[in-house]
Amino acid sequence: MIRQFSAEVTSNVRLSDGVFMLVLSPMSEVLRPCAGQFYMVGQGCGIPGKKPLFDPLLKRPFSCMDYNDGLLHFMIKLRGRFTAILGNCTPGTVLELIGPIGNAFPAVGAGERLIVVAGGIGIASVAMLLRDYPEATLFYGVRSANDLFVDQLPPVARLHVTSDDGSAGDKGNVLEHLRQYIASIVETTEGGVIKVYACGPYAMTEQLCRMFASKGGDLCKVNGWTVEAFVSVEERMACGVAACLGCTVSTVNGYRLVCKDGPVFSVNDLIPVAT
């Protein structure tokens, strides 16, 4: 089955000033996406026989937030030109997609605990994990209550919300609360494996590397527990299919492609760039 297809907008709901939920109905048979995979989304082909418009030019990558009844759900933050176009798409608009793309989050082994961590719109890249692992714990950090979209998520077993301004959940940084939580687990229960699957802004990725990397991470091994952390990362993309070599990230194994080797990387492999 080829991974290129057209899809029709079935609904497009504004969730807040800056975020919308776009639901697409593929117009041909598609593969089932796995948690962490994404799609390259672009405009339709324009009017047959007429020169199409080329601004914006390239497709853009968006994680699949949910796949349900054959519908693809995308939770998208208004960022620039193309997200503005998507935000204004009315039902019936036809878009062009490639996907599912990427390596997805690794399977969680039996007996392992899964903690899902989302920073802001990063929730879109990890939400499908909550369907696959209904027992997972979710740490969901936002700036303020406006950015929190818990009602868009599958049912969550254990939810910890934090916000920068305290308008929702606990006030403070989501990773600080995660640290405390892990500390309490490792103190009170027998050892094992904790998987931390995360997506958030760049600073969060960096911090996760510092916390959980097997080299130098202060929380990667404590009290008989091992924490294995994987992060979904972003990079600018042109093709999405490993052809342009544009979406490189630096890893301990050299440059790797986010669209082929990622978007999910172990914190052990990533080399965060000093900013």
């Binding site: 082909c45 080329f54 390239l58 990079e235 299919v241 052809a243 342009c244 070599l245």
Partner: protein, 303 residues
């Protein structure tokens, strides 16, 4: 209806190929359509040794175009010949190896290695990457250096030799003439224009390499003009036109300007099946205008 064309003695089933660096090693797109439909696959620029390319970020979208500073990352000719070529050869299409060196000796070595590989139908000599340093740029912008590298590579291979010209020159016809005089069988034009973009919030360039190559619809008018200029002075040299070809109509403009074949580049990113749409659209144009043979309209623009 005949779509078959001949470039430097190489027969292509149709005039549509992929532009180097925009189609990986071909196989990345094999899942999207049957590569045998293509006139030729031109692979990502290869060098004798693998090359890791430039640090990220490497791409930036501009108005109707994109900047890239991949920096000629590639797996190296030996790995290409061992891992990719055998699979690629199974498709009924032509395989053109785009390659480069850091020195003339490396260019020659690369040409010789590719010459000996089974399944490479032609070589495309890349002297025109905007992501290399000024010294390297001389290969594509200094006629004397260009003549030397082409002549030396010419001696190293008996395969059809296509030289890919840089648009970042004062007089493209001079460079074309020099390349042909030095032994090029055909010319590809254009490679990317050197460009730049700045993030005004971080006050840093958008690309880690500072400058990059501009491709896409934005550059089409420049590419078409250069192709037309070269065709005017070298009407018998086979030209492969590229630069912003997104649709069949774009391809036909290049053919009318004098291209015997065209390459689709950035458009592959926008639509992995762009080449097929271009081939189909050329066929439609031909039947709409009663053109029996595509060769009949090469250079047919009335000026």
């Amino acid at each position: 209806m005949n779509l078959e064309v001949s470039v430097a003695g190489l027969r292509l089933k149709n005039p549509v190929m992929t532009a180097s660096g925009t189609f990986g090693y071909g196989l990345e797109y094999a899942g999207f359509f049957d590569l045998s439909r293509l006139g030729a696959v031109v692979v990502k620029g290869l060098s004798v040794n693998p090359s890791k390319g430039n640090p990220p970020p490497r791409i930036w979208e501009t108005s109707c175009g994109m900047l890239n500073s991949i920096g000629l990352q590639n797996i190296g000719i030996p790995a290409f010949v061992r891992d990719k070529l055998p699979v690629l050869r199974q498709y009924d299409t032509r395989i053109i190896a785009n390659f480069f060196g850091n020195t003339i000796a490396e260019f020659v070595e690369g040409a010789a290695m590719l010459n000996d590989a089974t399944g490479v139908d032609a070589l495309e000599l890349n002297v025109s990457c905007p992501n290399k340093d000024a010294a390297w740029s001389a290969f594509g912008t200094n006629p004397v250096v260009l003549a030397e590298v082409v002549a030396r590579v010419r001696q190293a291979t008996s395969l059809p030799l296509i030289v890919k010209l840089s648009p970042n020159v004062t007089d493209i016809t001079e460079m074309a003439r020099v390349a042909v005089d030095a032994g090029a069988d055909a010319l590809s034009l254009i490679n990317t224009l050197t460009g730049m973009a700045i993030d005004i919030e971080s006050i840093r360039p958008r690309l880690s390499n500072i400058v990059g190559g501009l491709s896409g619809p934005a550059i089409k008018p420049v590419a078409l003009r250069m192709l037309w200029q070269v065709h005017k002075v070298l009407p018998s040299v086979p030209l492969i036109g590229m630069g912003g070809i997104m649709t069949a109509d774009d391809a036909i403009e290049f053919i009318l300007a004098g291209a015997v074949a065209v390459a689709v580049g950035t458009a592959n990113f926008v639509n992995p099946q762009a080449t097929l749409h271009v081939i189909g659209g050329i066929e439609q144009y031909m039947s709409r205008h009663n053109i029996a043979d595509i060769n009949d309209i090469v250079g047919g623009v009335i000026c």
